[in-house]
Symmetry: C2
Subunit: 124 residues, 2 copies
DNA sequence: TTTGTATTTAACCGTTTGGTTATATACATT
DNA sequence: AATGTATATAACCAAACGGTTAAATACAAA
């Protein structure tokens, strides 16, 4: 729970199936703690802790209505997380494009040899 | 390290700045363990453990070349992670759209109340 | 064969996580 | 005021995390 940076605590909050299920539920609208707890065979305090993790990651916010503390999704951090992932996914795909180009080039210049394990180049 | 499901272990692997930095470095090409360790003031075994986490999350794969174990990015799990995030981000935005529609409807029927603040959504 | 380099494994340590049960708090209803 | 309902907190626990140092392994070079 010692949150280092925002991105880390977002990913960490998402790294639990219970919490992801809670977010899934909340994506359809606000819900009380008991409502959120219903699908799980888990004690209320356990759910309460999960909610606190989500809250500290700013993935949810909570209201106050009589004895209920309705939770609602706050998806802003998801945007940062998504951006991060997309960034590296893009880089990875770019690398593959370059590899494709390289392979194509090689095929034009060389006679296809016996199936060769590609050797990792560019080392020092 | 006790990987429950794939998505969880992906997010968990991403929930650490050192590991994200390693992935960032790898997005520019393969690297040996010592090369990857260089930017960090951390012991080699620590890096080795981080690499193992990334490997078990299938975010990297490793080769064998003399005494080196070159690491390379495997971005397939990033796709699943990205898909998950995008899904809920989309739902969240849909919710906002519905809220917009609702507010508009209300505005037509009622007297406009005190200025309502609009949410940041233009980012995409 | 010895030495050096790259990397992993082992053993350990303090902190965090994810759960539990039992208790406390806050509010509504009777 | 007493009771019921919704939720949070406290205290505890085992396991996992993220790091350490020291030792083992694997291969290359001399």
């Amino acid at each position: 729970m010692l949150a280092p940076d925002r991105l880390s605590s977002t990913f960490q909050a998402l790294a639990d199936p219970t919490r992801r299920a809670i977010l899934a539920r909340l994506s359809q609208g606000e819900a009380s703690v008991t409502e959120l707890a219903a699908p799980f065979s888990m004690s209320m305090p356990a759910i309460s802790k999960h909610l606190k993790v989500l809250e500290r990651a700013s993935l949810i916010s909570r209201g106050k209505e009589a004895q209920w503390r309705p939770c609602k999704l706050e998806a802003a951090p998801l945007e940062a997380a998504s951006d991060w992932v997309e960034q590296y996914r893009a880089m990875w795909e770019a690398r593959f494009d370059r590899l494709d180009a390289y392979l194509k080039e090689v095929q034009e210049k060389e006679v296809k040899p016996t199936t060769r394990k590609r050797n990792a180049k560019g080392k020092r």
